[in-house]
């Protein structure tokens, strides 16, 4: 990319509509930022493709969990990071997605791979419908309304008149067939199955925020009034974003139901919604790859905390409370070092290194 050093001339001569990002000019150790981005995506993809072959089943299972958690964090990030709507209720959308897939598999014996898209569609509808009344709410008021949704979701799932479908308090046990490909173990197959949807949704998110829609979303976040004077239909964009965010969480929920093979109202409490929020902030707000970091953080860091506490206290359960104390401490330390999340930290330091 020799032209990247001369973006101004490129703009003049080519007259291309492509926006010039001033950061694209910067170089770190002689490599331009877009190239760093491309190379890291390639490395990431290669790791994602080959890692499962070097891991035992349990490790692959954890990676699969990271995948669906990342998808959910990305969904939340699209809403909060790009349109500035604050949600504490995304566990409810995951629950809707998981139960859509679960009910289809359990009641109507639909094959699992046909349940993902419907789960996304149902959650789009749910998100859009919830987004409509939420339009009038901002900041903390929206946070409360969504939090209410997260708290009410388990109670609705248990409601006796829905019990024939939801299995009520007993939850749904989901059977699924084995890996259709001989050289892949079941765990590996579920991993690649989830990876397929993960990659698809990440690319979609990328295109969404880099395009016209994304610019409108960011305008709404940064200055809603200016955005509306520019002719952006605030209500439509806000509720559609809620719906799109719902799609991500719905697919994540459906994948979680398939991977864990069991869903119950206890699987989707508001604690889960809070975890997603932690993942989003730690990863980095308004950054797409950050969702993967966030998903990994909320899965692995509690595990590491437990390992560390078990190591220092010989596995004595009396010290288990320290796990969550150290998880809390880990969160505080991370935001101290990286107040803008991991993505913000990386971005800033790359620019600092750049010459």
């Amino acid at each position: 990319m020799t032209t990247s050093t001369l973006p101004d001339t490129e703009m003049k001569s080519g007259g291309a509509p492509r926006r010039a990002n001033p950061a694209d000019r910067l170089r770190v150790f002689g490599v331009s930022l877009p190239w760093i981005r491309r190379v890291s995506i390639l490395i990431g993809l290669a790791l994602a493709l080959f890692l499962p072959f070097y891991m035992e089943g349990f490790g692959v299972f954890q990676l699969t969990q990271v995948l669906y958690l990342s998808i959910a964090v990305l969904g939340l990030n699209l809403l909060t990071g790009f349109t500035g709507q604050f949600s504490l209720g995304h566990s409810a959308f995951m629950a809707i997605g998981a139960y859509t897939a679960g009910i289809m598999m359990d009641q109507w014996e639909v094959p699992y791979y046909l349940t993902i898209v419907p789960a996304g569609i149902v959650c789009f509808a749910a998100g859009f419908l919830f987004g409509l009344p939420a339009l009038r709410l901002e900041g903390l008021y929206l946070a409360l309304a969504t939090f209410a949704l997260a708290v009410a979701a388990p109670q609705l799932l248990k409601y006796e008149h829905f019990e024939p479908f939801t299995g009520g308090v007993q939850g749904l046990d989901l059977l699924k067939p084995d890996s259709p490909i001989a050289f892949l173990s079941n765990d590996q197959w579920w991993y690649y199955f989830s990876l397929f949807f993960g990659v698809l949704l990440f690319i979609a998110a990328w295109n969404l925020v880099r395009g016209r829609t994304g610019r409108a979303m960011i305008a709404i976040r940064d200055n809603p009034i200016a955005a509306s004077t520019m002719g952006i239909n605030l209500s439509l964009y806000k509720s559609v974003t809620f719906g799109v965010s719902g799609i991500y969480c719905g697919v994540a929920g459906a994948l979680s139901a398939i991977v864990v093979e069991f869903i119950a109202p206890e699987s989707f409490t508001f604690i889960f919604a809070i975890l997603l929020l932690i993942g989003m902030v730690i990863g980095g707000i308004a950054s797409i790859p950050a969702a993967i970091i966030g998903g990994a953080f909320i899965l692995y860091v509690p595990n590491f905390s437990e390992m560390a506490v078990d190591f220092f206290f010989g596995g004595d359960p009396a010290s288990k409370a320290l796990v969550w104390i150290s998880f809390g401490a880990a969160m505080i330390i991370v935001v101290y070092i990286m107040p803008m999340g991991v993505a913000g930290f990386v971005k800033r330091n790359l620019r600092r290194l750049a010459r």
């Binding site: 909060t80 009038r136 903390l140 409601y159 009034i225 707000i285 320290l322 104390i325 809390g328 803008m340």
Partner: protein, 294 residues
């Protein structure tokens, strides 16, 4: 449709007011912190629980109730200020979501810390009020009445503090216009710390009033926090009086909803009511409507 008896309605409303006093306690400290930092502290409930445990520990060691009560308020005040100075002061310029993560982290640290120190079994917490009322009634208990009185007294004190004391006025100034406040010589950082300290102290009183009703255990605030927040938000985050009223409303809405639709979905219905109120009054019932400027 179940038949609704008037007797039950009266009892439920009075019982709801008693529960509402619990929510109002938390709503007050939520509003207090909102006045200072313009945000919720999600760990508010857990801090109140921790304070109540400290009182319990002092009483268990043989301290007199009132000594423990006031020592706990003082400790909570200092603790609240310390949290602001040590944890939040370095993060002053970080984005608001970073603060939220720290609130959640504090939530976990207080919750797990209390579990680590005091275990999860429920404990009795003494009530400072007499066992029986001077007149005979089954409609409302002495502790319920006492708790309502305490909430109203706290409300009055907060009102007087913000309206008439120089410190209160300085705090309001620091929250409303930090830059101008700095120009007239108000230490904004100190005011923030003071706000934290006061919110923690109010929370401590709330915790000590709530614990005799729901019993003391590390998770006792889990359910209360939602209603406390809801009360504060529905009442209006900028109005302490509105928050108390909102807290009482939350207490009443839920059981009355339960009378009509049964207990299985009463939480859901209560939440629908909250959202509906917010849709029609997006800044709460008594909140200041912030006029947006381009």
């Amino acid at each position: 449709m179940p038949d609704i008896s008037m007797v039950e309605l009266v009892q439920q409303v009075l019982g709801g007011l008693a529960t509402g006093a619990i929510y109002a306690c938390i709503a007050l400290s939520v509003v207090m912190i909102y006045q200072a930092i313009d945000h919720f502290n999600f760990a508010q409930g857990e801090m109140a629980m921790f304070s109540a445990f400290i009182t319990w520990q002092m009483i268990d060691w043989g301290a007199n109730y009132w000594v423990a009560f006031f020592v706990c308020i003082a400790l909570s005040f200092i603790g609240g200020m310390a949290i602001e100075r040590i944890i939040f002061a370095p993060l002053r310029n970080a984005p608001v979501f970073t603060h939220i993560v720290v609130f959640i982290a504090l939530f976990q640290i207080f919750n797990a810390g209390a579990g680590y120190i005091w275990e999860f079994t429920i404990r009795e917490f003494p009530s400072p009020f007499p066992e029986r009322l001077p007149f005979d009634t089954t409609l409302i208990g002495p502790h319920d009445l006492g708790m309502m009185a305490v909430v109203l007294i706290m409300l009055g004190l907060i009102f007087l503090f913000f309206r008439f004391t120089p410190v209160g006025l300085a705090m309001r100034a620091a929250a409303a216009a930090p830059d101008s406040a700095r120009l007239v010589g108000i230490s904004v950082g100190m005011m923030l710390a003071l706000g934290w300290g006061l919110a923690a102290a109010i929370g401590a009183v709330g915790g000590m009033m709530i614990a005799p009703v729901v019993y003391l255990e590390p998770n006792m605030m889990l359910g209360i926090l939602l209603y406390g927040f809801a009360g504060a938000v529905v009442g209006g985050l900028t109005s302490p009086g509105g928050a108390v009223l909102g807290g009482f409303m939350m207490g009443v809405i839920e059981p009355v909803a339960g009378m009509f639709i049964g207990s299985e979905l009463k939480l859901t219905v209560a939440l629908v009511v909250i959202v509906t109120i917010l849709i029609f009054r997006p800044s709460g019932m008594f909140g200041r409507v912030v006029v947006q400027r381009v």
